[in-house]
Structure formats: C-alpha cells, structure tokens
C-alpha cells in the first residue's frame, strides 16, 4: 500500500512534451514475464482532454501497459509520473485513489456478486458504518442508464449477464467516482452497435470534461471515431505515434504489422 518507488528511478527524463502537463506519463517503462519481453522502454503521455488510442497486434504488450497504469503490474524498469509527481504505482487501490480507473480486458468482475456489488466493489458507500445499499442501487441505475445499458435487475449476479452486459458493468464501474484518467482495454469487444455508440459517446464526454482517456482497441473504426492520438505497440516497443486527424489507416496498419510504409515515423513525443 505504500507509495514506495521501488523500481528504477534512475532514468533521465524522457523527451519533453508539448503544451500542457500530462496527467499521466510513463517514462522508459520495461517489463518482462520470464523470458518474454512484454514491454521495452515505452514512453507514453496522456494529456487532459485527450483520447490516446493504443493499438497493436495480439501479444504486442497492450494489456501489460494497461496493467502498469492500473497498478496491477509493477514494471521492472521505468517510472510513472502523475501530475508531475513521480511515483511507484504499487497497488490497484492506489491507482484508483489517484483517479486512474481501468476497464480490464477480462473485465475483472466477481461472478457471484450482483451488479451493484460489483460496481462498488472496493469503494462501497457507507451509512453509519454499514453498507448503504439504497444509495448504491440508485447510483447503479443512474450510471447504467447513462451508458444505455439494458439490464433487468441490478441485483442479479453478474454470472447471469450476457457478455455485453458484463462489459457495460465493467465500464460503468470505471466511470463511478469521476476518474481523471480512464483506461479501457478493449471496451467494446463484446458490445452491440448501440452499446458501442454509447461507450464511444461516453469516452468523448469524459474527454470533454477535461480528463484523459487511454483506449486499447483492435477496432480501427472505434479508434478513428474517438482517438486524438494513436500510439502503436509492436512486440513490446513503441512503433509509431500518430495524430489521428492526419494519419491514414494504411500508416497505422503498417506500423502495427511492421511492414514499412512511406510515412512511418518513430517518435516518442507528440507530433501535433
């Protein structure tokens, strides 16, 4: 629980970014699982009012990057800067306290708990020492309807929900408590057309309220719809950082697959 900086703090500060301090920066982050180098020297800045899409092939290291921002993975090397302050993000609870909310690729729900219990897990509302079920249930309906979710009962165990409903619950959980940085790992993979649209609208709304969003996705249509910046990971390394307005679909695909494309750039900073 302590905020000890127990990973490599000796890195020089990365290339400085353009206007505005990032809410969240990763500097020279590397992480290995045994012999697998999941991330190698990755820099990433998330600014306020910005949606950063992280794309890459399967196994490129996207979820590892998400885990590091969520506090579930402590990287082997590199540092994490929140609000200009370098710190060791050593627990998921700490990340939440700092306002970093995450939707995990596997959703991280507890099947035996109902929707309300999952939404407020680890951040329950209390009233005189005991759980305030009424307030939590009321808020649950509110945040779910904001996402256009269709659930019959917020008191059914999430094991009984459909894949899309579960995904909506996970997204709703991340939105509770008004996070400053919203990290989403494949948030629309299981969603239908309407729900996907709602989630994309929500992402834009979070951005417009001044927060930063990291969106990991395989869905290029989603990325192009909401992203301001597209960061490409390839085999654990940064392989491109594009302005979403200017980059073409082909540029991004080329960076993902590693086939060289004429306008491919390799910069760690921001272009626009």
């Amino acid at each position: 629980m302590s905020a000890a900086t127990d990973h490599g703090a000796g890195h020089g500060s990365g290339p400085s970014t353009t206007a505005g301090t990032p809410v969240l920066s990763l500097r020279g982050v590397s992480h290995s699982f045994g012999a697998v180098r999941a991330l190698v020297d990755v820099d990433l800045d998330v600014h306020p009012r910005e949606v950063v899409a992280v794309v890459g092939d399967n196994g490129a290291g996207k979820s590892t990057l998400v885990g590091i921002m969520a506090g579930t993975i402590v990287p082997d090397a590199g540092e994490l800067v929140v609000d200009g302050q370098e710190l060791g993000l050593t627990s998921p609870g700490l990340a939440r306290q700092l306002g970093i909310a995450t939707v995990f690729q596997d959703l991280a729900l507890c099947d035996d708990l109902d929707v309300v219990e999952n939404l407020y897990l680890g951040q329950e509302l209390r009233r005189g020492g005991v759980l305030d079920e009424v307030a939590m249930e009321r808020e649950a309906w509110r945040v779910l309807s904001r996402l256009g979710a269709r659930v019959d009962s917020v008191r059914a165990p999430v094991a009984t929900l459909s894949g899309g409903q579960r995904q909506t619950v996970a997204i709703a959980r991340a939105l509770l408590g008004d996070p400053r940085v919203l990290v989403l790992d494949e948030p629309t993979a299981a969603l239908g057309v309407t729900q996907t649209a709602e989630v994309l609208t929500t992402i834009e709304r979070v951005r417009d309220s001044g927060h930063g969003v990291v969106l990991v996705s395989h869905n290029m249509a989603d990325v192009q719809a909401v992203a301001d910046r597209v960061v490409v990971l390839r085999r654990g390394r940064l392989n491109g950082d594009f302005d979403a307005e200017q980059a073409s679909y082909e540029d991004i695909i080329a960076a993902i697959t590693g086939v060289s494309a004429p306008r491919r750039r390799r910069t760690a900073g921001e272009d626009a």
């Binding site: 995450t102 099947d111 897990l121 307030a135 094991a159």
Partner: protein
C-alpha cells in the same frame, strides 16, 4: 425497475430466506431436516420430544460455533482442516490453565481463544505471504495442535473441570429464563420490522422498487413463527440453553457482518474471484488473514465450550471426526466449497442436520457405522446440489474469466 435486495439468494448475500432464479437457497436443507425429523419421529416417538430437542440443541452449540468459523474460511475459497485439533488444544489450555496453573477462569478462556486466533494468523501469513495452499498449511497445523494438546495435558492425559466453575455451569445448566427468551424474540422481531420499514421508506424515496407493506408484514409473521414456536417448545422443557443462545447470537453477528459491511462484501468477492477482488483495490491478504483468524478463534471457543459441557478436557477432545464433521456441516448447510457463496446461517442448518442424524440414530440404538454412512450420503447430496447450481448459473453466464 425490478430487482430488490429481497430477490437475492442468501448465498449471494441476500436475506436467509432469499431466493434467486435457479438457486435452491436453503430449501433443500430445510426439506432434509423435515424429512429426517418425520422419519425418526415415526420410528421412535421420543425424537421430537422437548427433552430430546433440548439435548439436540445443546449438542449442536459447540459444533455449530466451530462450523461458523469453517463457513467463513470456505467463503474465501480456503479450507481449515485443523479446527478439531485447535478446539482440542483450546480445551486443554483452559483445563490446565484453570485447574493446574490456578489462573482465573476468564484468563484461561481468553488465553485459549487468543491462542486460537494466533494460530489462524499464522495460517493467514503462510498462505498469503508464502503462497502455500491452506490445505497443507492447516494439515500441518492440525498435527502441531494435536502434539501441543497432548503436551499441555501432560502425563495424565485428562483434566477434569470442577462442576461449580462458571464455565461448566454455563455449558451444562444455564438456560435462558422463559421471560428472557421471549423478550429476546420480541426484540429481534422489533429490530427486523423496524429496519425493514426504514429500508422500505428509503427505497421508496429513492424511487427504487420496494417490498409492499403486506410483504413486510408477511415476512415478519413468518419470522415470528420461526422464532416463537421453537422457543415455546424448548421452554416446555428446560428451555433455550445459554450456549445455544450464544451460538445463535454469533451467527446473527456473522450474518450481519457478511451482508452489511464492506468486510463481508470483500469476503465474498475474494471467494468469488481473488484476482478481480485484488484489482478492485481490496486488501486481499487482510481478508484471508481475518477469515483464518476468525475461524480458529471460533474453533477455540467451541473447544472451550465443549470442555465446559463435558466438565473435562482430554486427549480425545476435538479429535476423531470433528474436523470433517464441521466442514461437512458447513457444506450441508449450503456454503459452497468453491468459495464466494454461503451464509452464516448454513452453520445452523448444517449442524442441525448432522445432529438430527446422530441423535435419531442413537435413539434407534444403531451402530455409529450407520451414522457415518448416512452423514456421508447427505454430504454427497449437498455437494451435488452446490455443484449443479453452480454449473447452471455458469451456463447462463456467457463469457467467463
């Protein structure tokens, strides 16, 4: 908007009689209890006599307290195989401390219970810090506790507690005065109705679906019958034993902790999916450690009470099949072996089933071999119900982790 806390099965954190689609709830166990009672009563008219039922409740109390601890550990998806041995060790500590060392009795009792909690703390640390499986850690703990029990009891191997000590009197001869028992029932009913009405009003104010007034009244009436009939019947004989009242009181406290506090919620979350619970920011280790400690502390308390009831502690206290009986009782009562689902009340139901079988077969003068077989069959049935209902809810669950 449908769905209220009342729709929820007790195993998912709802009220004890809560029910949820496709979930059997406590009904199979209650059904089993009714069937067992009718069968035994048909064969031997003494089974349902007030005298026999008072004995049955007294025999249930210490095993029930141990089972309550097992329920907590099962809820987080762990197991404690050493509850019997820990209860035996606690009994030995009380007897030797009080009789041979001359400690004040309350000091001896407190020491035994704290020792129990300490053992659970060690289990918790070994499983969370070193990642050892609780199965093995508690098996090792069982052996250590048995060894300590023999050592503490010394060469005689048995220590008698004086009949006039309060522990023995509490466990053997203290019964709630009938007036007191009815007063407790009235208080519980008033608290229940009050909290229901309060919750109803808040839900209506929040524009959530709320139980109708007739529903609240109906449930209160059912609760009144469930509480008053046994109290009245036991009062026609010796009454409600103090130890029985203590057991039920502990169950009520555990039930409220599990359903109404953040700790209880984290217990169910950890049992359901540790990894998700950790990523939700729950201090998973603390949850494990508190459950192990509560389990062994309750086991120690159960051992102390059984020493009081027998007015003695010996090498056999807490031995033989007590471990397995307590675990079987928790599962028969409806707590899942797979973690995440259960209720404090399953300790009551499970222990009643086990003791009904034991008492009924004793009345029939049947060999203990039959008792083991019958208990084993009931346990197998309970696990089957658990596994089937789990599979069914998974089948409806779409994507799983």
């Amino acid at each position: 908007m449908s769905g209220t806390a009342l729709d929820l099965s007790w195993r998912h954190g709802g009220a004890p009689w809560g029910r949820w689609r496709g979930e059997p709830g406590p009904w199979p166990v209650i059904g089993a209890l009714v069937v067992l009672s009718l069968v035994f009563q048909a064969v031997n008219g003494n089974f349902l006599s007030a005298d026999n039922l008072v004995n049955l409740t007294l025999q249930s109390a210490s095993l029930g307290i141990i089972t309550l601890g097992v329920v907590l550990v099962l809820m987080v998806g762990q197991i404690d195989l050493s509850v019997g041995a820990v209860s035996g060790l606690a009994a030995a500590v009380v007897a030797v401390g009080f009789v041979q060392q001359g400690w004040p009795l309350w000091v001896a009792v407190l020491t035994a219970v704290l020792l129990g909690a300490g053992i659970g703390g060690v289990y918790g640390l070994l499983t969370t810090r070193l990642g050892l499986p609780s199965f093995v850690v508690t098996l090792a703990g069982l052996l250590v506790a048995v060894g300590l029990q023999v050592r503490v009891l010394g060469s005689t191997g048995s220590v008698n507690l004086p009949y006039e000590s309060w522990l023995v009197r509490f466990a053997q001869q203290t019964f709630l005065h009938p007036v007191a028992s009815y007063a407790v029932v009235a208080l519980v009913l008033a608290a229940y109705v009050g909290s229901r009405l309060l919750e109803r009003r808040r839900r209506v104010e929040a524009e959530l679906s709320a139980a109708s007034l007739p529903t609240v009244a109906g449930r209160a009436a059912v609760l009144a019958v469930v509480l008053l009939v046994p109290t009245w019947y036991l009062n026609t004989d010796r009454g409600v034993g103090a130890m029985v009242a203590l057991f039920v009181g502990l169950v009520v406290v555990a039930d409220l902790l599990l359903r109404r506090t953040a700790w209880g919620r984290s217990v169910r979350a950890v049992g359901s999916n540790v990894d998700s619970a950790r990523r939700a920011g729950i201090a998973v280790r603390r949850v494990y450690v508190t459950c192990f400690m509560a389990c062994t502390a309750l086991a120690a308390l159960g051992g102390v009470l059984s020493a009081g009831r027998l007015a003695a502690a010996n090498q056999g206290t807490g031995g033989s099949d007590l471990n397995l009986t307590a675990i079987a009782a928790a599962v028969i009562g409806g707590t899942s072996l797979f973690g995440g689902r259960g209720s404090a009340w399953s300790a009551v139901l499970g222990v009643l089933v086990i003791q009904a079988i034991s008492s009924g077969l004793t009345l029939l003068n049947v060999d203990s071999s039959v008792r083991y077989v019958v208990t084993g069959v009931v346990l197998a049935l309970a696990v089957t119900i658990d596994a089937v209902s789990r599979r069914r809810s998974e089948a409806g669950g779409g994507v799983r982790r």
